[in-house]
């Protein structure tokens, strides 16, 4: 674990640092924590100082005032160029068990390195692994339809059985389901937050947040304590799509945040996969329209696997555990009936002619065997 304080080189404020001890890291952390400094400013600073960002600590006030960034930002830099300011931040990170990785570090996600406007600094809790790059981002609305829930559970379940990591945003709805299914299948999953990593938003996802830290990571480019500000979420969407090899869009309304992620993925040159829906469904308008524009239509995960070259090898790891479990006659009857579409218990009872009492027991067994799932509208699906 990166002990932030220990690694901190206090001599960076010393003017006689050699070029080899290039310490952009601290400088990036410093700039990232200033409220009025944004990514564009940092880019300007990098260009002005010839990629040697840490010069920001040693530059004279005049040099900083000559930077072509907003006046507010210049003032904030000058005011806070103190060792104590940085130490405060690092102490806070240590206290909250938050790790930090920057563009030049080893753990920094490979996929993110080559996207435009990449975050210089990533805060994270949990662990980052090298093979996290073999991943798919799953996005969708906060208020999915039952169809959306069905789709995310089915596709993510299959993806995670192939060992493909799942990236999402830990918002309510599709994001939550995607993380949940991945965790259930014991696959690493990464949540990219639009808040500081110490803030759990929405707060009822506390359980999932803890579980993700145990088996993956929560990641954010925003300094600790950043609240859920509406304009931060579209910004973090570029990290969601940039983190993975492809973005799977479960459902999207027209002009939704989900489509913003889709546009980011296209800009970054990543694959976009879209699940078609009914033409009369509001929540599928967006997905259908991006298919029209050339996104890959997905109705089974083979559509994803064949498109991404890196997944060719992964395929072999897949083990089908379904055949290990036997089903008796009536259980098979239920499975056959459910194969068409999800059904309520009443509908099942009518079609299989098994009475409600017995059906309840059978469905519990099938749930335990992991064959059927209860959707949140009370229907059962395979």
């Amino acid at each position: 674990m990166y002990k932030n304080i220990e690694n901190f080189k206090s001599h960076i404020l010393n003017k006689e640092v050699k070029k080899e001890e290039f310490r952009n890291k601290e400088a990036w952390i410093f700039l990232n924590n200033l409220k009025s400094v944004n990514n564009r400013h940092i880019k300007t600073i990098e260009e002005t100082f010839d990629e040697e960002v840490e010069y920001i600590f040693r530059a004279s006030n005049k040099e900083i005032n000559n930077l072509r960034i907003s006046e507010k930002a210049r003032k904030e830099i000058i005011d806070n160029r103190r060792e104590e300011f940085l130490i405060e931040i690092l102490k806070d990170l240590d206290k909250k068990e938050v790790n930090i990785t920057t563009l030049i570090d080893e753990e920094y996600p490979e996929n993110l390195k080559n996207i435009p406007d990449r975050p210089r600094v990533l805060y994270y809790r949990g662990s980052l692994k090298e093979d996290d790059s073999y991943s798919i981002s799953v996005v969708g609305p906060r208020k999915p339809s039952n169809y959306g829930i069905y789709v995310v559970q089915k596709l993510v379940d299959e993806l995670s059985k192939y060992g493909i990591k799942i990236i999402s945003g830990m918002a309510s709805g599709i994001d939550t389901h995607a993380h949940m299914v991945a965790l259930r299948n014991k696959v690493r999953t990464i949540a990219v937050l639009g808040t500081g990593v110490d803030i759990i938003y929405p707060s009822h996802n506390r359980n999932i947040y803890k579980k993700i830290i145990e088996r993956g990571a929560v990641v954010s480019e925003f300094p600790l304590g950043t609240k859920g500000l509406p304009y931060n979420f579209p910004k973090r969407n570029r990290i969601i799509s940039g983190y993975s090899l492809g973005t799977l869009i479960i459902e999207a309304e027209e002009r939704s945040g989900t489509l913003i992620t889709c546009n980011h993925a296209l800009e970054q040159g990543r694959e976009v996969f879209s699940v078609p829906g009914n033409i009369n469904s509001m929540s599928s308008k967006g997905t259908n329209s991006i298919i029209k524009q050339g996104a890959k239509l997905v109705d089974c995960i083979d559509d994803i696997l064949e498109e991404i070259v890196d997944f060719k090898d992964i395929k072999k790891d897949y083990k089908d555990i379904e055949y290990d479990i036997d089903f008796d006659k009536e259980e098979n009857q239920i499975i056959e009936t459910l194969r068409k579409n999800p059904k309520t218990i009443d509908e099942l009872s009518e079609q299989t002619e098994i009475n409600i009492i017995e059906l309840n027991s059978l469905l519990t067994i099938l749930e335990l065997k992991g064959k059927v799932n209860k959707l949140n509208d009370g229907k059962f699906s395979l």
């Binding site: 208020k143 949940m180 009822h204 999932i208 309520t344 218990i345 009443d346 309840n360 059978l362």
Partner: protein, 507 residues
């Protein structure tokens, strides 16, 4: 001369014996009522005066003092009119006989007519306990009190009749009934008219069998309210003790229609704008609220998340303790509130989420609605079911459905089994079992235990929802007339468990 007349006042659900002492003495003609009389008692002065005059008696032109003893309890209620009038008439020798062994209750009109009162039953029970042999009360109250043994009830219509009776000029027959007509009309909805919805019906039957609380989740137009309303018809009739208890509460509020003795279980459906004082009880006199009026019966809260958050949370303690203590400035009283809760909710505020129609709620409202019900409340609701909109073929279908009567008979049987089981405990139904009782009565074998462990792991259940499943299994086994809880009983119960609270967060 001093006369003493017996009557009583209410303190919550409890009657307290009160003696009206009346003294007529020489002095300025005036009429005082002392002994912490409330406004309604002070006003009785004028009513009593007019009633005595208009009944053809002389109102003494002397100093009259009526003392309500014990004098340290505040007294409210118009039923003190009659005893005060009798006290004056006794003092002024219009009534010649001694009235020490008679208790009086009744409101007077100016013409001398005796009007019916609230709270006759709890007062009568108190008189019966104190060994008073005769009770004179308004004609309108005879039905609820007539069932009591050990006290003779004489219903009267006006003041003249009372005086004639006490002077033995007229004989009134004591009113006695053995059984009473049913207070609550049978519900208009019979189960045989509810088409389809097999799961909901089964779940409701399980709930009614063990008096488990249930929440029905479904979009608008799925028949939630209809099922809930029909449920009051399948509950067994009350036994005598329960009847007395519930009639007492209704008597205080004057809510029992025709002031009859109640033998059917109540069904209360307060609207979601209800305040928590109206729900749990309150007001200046700490009157019982809806949850006490639903005692022994059903409390139906339609659109549960639409209730005020404070109102919903105020149900926590009554749901657990089966009684509620209402404290107001003058009075603290405990009312029983042992009801079966039927709540309904929509999948979202507009009611269309998860159906073919598009949901029009914005995200904020949507999540606020979902979060409205706290975990402690949901934990106390054993059963949750989802219902779907009824399909056309079900509406016109001619399918044979079970009628309310058949279901009721089955449930009566299950209630009997539970009564036998819990005869040494202070509970009546499976849903009321506490930890030790669950351990004692919910024995399961190795195989079932193994299944339970799997279920526990898979859904990462809390200890409370685990216990809820055991209690439900006990009820399902009882319905199956099985002494032992079998594996399939548990498996069925698992389907009914409350999933709203967990929100599928079983990672």
């Amino acid at each position: 001369m001093i006369s003493k007349v017996k009557t009583g006042v209410l303190r919550g659900i409890q009657g307290i014996e009160v003696e009206v002492e009346t003294d007529i003495s020489r002095g300025m003609p005036n009429f005082f009522i002392v002994g912490l009389a409330g406004t309604s008692v002070k006003e009785s002065k004028e009513r009593v005066k007019s009633a005595i005059k208009n009944s053809g008696f002389d109102f003494p032109i002397s100093k009259i003092v009526a003392n309500l003893s014990p004098a340290n309890i505040r007294k409210e209620g118009v039923h003190l009119d009659l005893p005060i009038a009798i006290g004056i008439l006794n003092s002024s020798k219009e009534i010649k006989n001694d009235v020490k062994d008679v208790a009086f209750l009744g409101e007077l009109s100016l013409s001398g007519k005796i009007l019916e009162i609230d709270g006759a039953l709890p007062l009568a029970i108190e008189f019966q306990k104190k060994g008073i042999k005769r009770l004179i009360l308004p004609e309108g109250n005879k039905e609820e009190v007539g069932i009591l043994k050990g006290i003779e009830v004489y219903p009267v219509k006006n003041l003249n009749e009372v005086v004639d009776y006490l002077n033995q000029n007229k004989d009134i027959k004591a009113y006695k009934i053995n059984t009473s007509k049913n207070e609550f009309e049978s519900p208009k909805i019979d189960f045989k008219n509810i088409k389809g919805q097999k799961l909901a019906k089964r779940a409701i039957e399980v709930a009614a069998s063990g008096m488990h609380n249930i929440i029905i989740n479904g979009p608008a137009g799925s028949g939630k309210t209809m099922i809930a309303s029909a449920t009051s018809g399948i509950l067994p009739d009350l036994n005598f003790d329960e009847s007395i208890e519930i009639t007492k509460i209704y008597s205080i509020r004057g809510e029992n229609k025709n002031r009859e003795f109640i033998t059917k279980r109540p069904f209360r459906a307060p609207h979601h704008t209800t305040t928590h004082a109206a729900l749990c009880g309150g007001g200046r006199n700490a009157y019982p609220g809806e949850i006490s009026l639903a005692h022994t019966g059903i409390l139906f809260l339609d659109e549960f998340p639409e209730f005020d958050r404070k109102v919903i949370e105020s149900l926590r303690q009554p749901l657990e303790d089966r009684e509620v203590t209402v404290s107001r400035m003058d009075i603290t009283t405990t009312y029983p509130s042992d009801f079966m809760l039927i709540a309904t909710m929509n999948p979202c505020p507009c009611g269309n989420y998860g159906t073919d129609k598009d949901c029009s709620c914005n995200n904020r409202d949507f999540f606020r609605y979902k979060r409205k019900l706290s975990a402690p409340i949901l934990d106390r609701i054993d059963i949750q079911i989802d219902v779907k909109r009824v399909e056309f073929k079900d509406i016109i279908g001619e399918s044979e459905e079970e009628s309310t009567d058949i279901i009721k008979r089955r449930i009566e049987n299950v209630h009997k089994i539970q009564k036998e089981r819990f005869k040494d405990e202070n509970i009546h139904f499976n849903s009321q079992m506490k930890c030790e009782q669950i351990k004692k009565y919910c024995n399961i074998d190795e195989e079932s235990l193994c299944f339970l462990e799997m279920i526990f792991e898979k859904y990462s259940l809390s200890a409370r929802s685990f216990n809820n499943i055991l209690k439900l299994s006990r009820t399902v086994a009882d319905m199956d007339l099985s002494e032992k809880i079998e594996k399939h009983h548990i498996l069925e119960s698992v389907q009914y468990r409350n999933r709203i609270s967990g929100e599928n967060f079983n990672v």
